[in-house]
């Protein structure tokens, strides 16, 4: 009986959901021709540049690809601690 309900209402652990999620991630990188390692170094460079102007909370710093309808976007979330003066 439980099995029936689980099936009717969609199992969360259905392996196709895992497959879809993994595909989504891997395709984002494939389509942008950017490896996860390259994305990591892009993040570091971005962090370094922005840190020259702003005090960034690097715990909350996030850079990721995202799909908006048909287009691909690089979305960065950069929490700022406080403004600092321009570098000397």
């Amino acid at each position: 009986m439980f099995d029936l309900f689980a099936r009717v209402f969609g199992r969360e652990d259905a392996s196709k959901e895992v497959a879809k999620e993994r595909l989504r991630l891997v395709l984002v990188h494939d389509r942008a021709s950017l490896s996860p390692q390259a994305l990591e170094s892009l993040k570091n460079d971005l962090l370094n540049v922005i840190s020259q102007y702003l005090d960034i909370d690097d715990q909350g710093f996030r850079v990721d690809f995202s799909r908006h309808e048909d287009a691909m976007a690089l979305i960065a979330n950069i929490p700022i601690k406080k403004k600092v003066g321009r570098p000397l």
């Binding site: 029936l4 259905a14 196709k16």
Partner: protein
């Protein structure tokens, strides 16, 4: 002037050759004049899948190099009146034996004689792929509902769309309705959503494909085979007919079926 269609996939072993043989046979059955080109030089297979391996005299490379005339290299499949021909691949050469330019010339001369020229593409994205795609007007991408196959299909679609002339469409091969129902296999909508291309057809995983390959008789010749029916439908769609997608249900497995079973209702 006919149309040249390349059957491609990126990943190996997902059903390109099976698909080429069956769509070709399906089109020929429906009265179209069809030529099949095995572009998998060095790994010739379309001949054995079609059951024509004993009739090869010349091959694709012989024709391209001017060693044989096209009409002498084409093998006529006698089961399909005067409608179906195969140009086999060379077995003892490799992908560099022909160039994309040579393929383009060959295919365009074949389009003058045939309604459809189907090109069986080798796996991969290198020279063999470039050769197979060079002369084609449109591309059919075959993928199975698995992560690696869909990933490779996406790569191929990217390469085809970059050229802006192939308008790729998708055949989902080896669907297993019982696994889809359990949520353990991606369904058609999942695949379309991920790959974002037009759906040309759905072919179920069918034991009869193995039987028909053993015999060298395309599955479309068998009226009982579900895969054969699926390929006949695809052939009709390529001819411009509007054929609804096949309903793939395994018996008594639907919600109502299970409910009935649970309540002990038969039938």
């Amino acid at each position: 002037m006919g149309e040249a269609i390349v059957i491609t996939s990126g990943k190996g072993g997902v059903g390109k050759t099976t698909t080429t043989a069956n769509i070709g046979a399906g089109l020929a059955q429906a009265g179209q004049r069809v030529a099949l080109i095995d572009a998998d030089i060095g790994l010739r297979n379309l001949d054995v899948v079609m059951g024509l391996e004993n009739r090869i005299v010349y091959d694709l490379v012989d024709v391209v190099e001017g060693f044989a005339k096209l009409k002498n290299a084409l093998i006529k499949d006698k089961r399909f009146n005067e409608n179906l021909y195969l140009l086999p691949a060379a077995q003892t050469r490799d992908k560099t034996a022909v160039s994309p330019e040579q393929m383009r010339d060959l295919v365009s001369s074949m389009k003058e004689e045939f309604d459809f020229v189907l090109i069986d593409c080798p796996a991969g994205i290198e020279q063999g792929f470039k050769n197979a795609v060079a002369g084609s007007d449109r591309a059919v991408v075959v993928a199975t509902p698995e992560v690696s196959s869909v990933r490779d299909a996406d790569r191929i679609i990217g390469l085809l769309e970059a050229e802006e002339k192939h308008h790729p469409s998708l055949i989902v091969n080896r669907i297993r309705p019982s696994m889809v129902k359990k949520g353990d296999m991606m369904d058609i909508n999942d695949m379309i959503e991920i790959l974002a291309i037009e759906l040309l057809g759905v072919v179920p995983d069918d034991e009869f494909i193995v039987v028909s390959t053993n015999r060298g008789e395309p599955a479309v010749l068998n009226t009982q085979s579900q895969a054969g029916q699926a390929y006949r439908n695809i052939a009709r769609r390529l001819m411009g007919e509007n054929v609804p997608m096949m309903k793939l249900e395994d018996d008594n497995q639907g919600f109502i079926g299970r409910l009935r079973k649970m309540m002990g209702i038969k039938g």
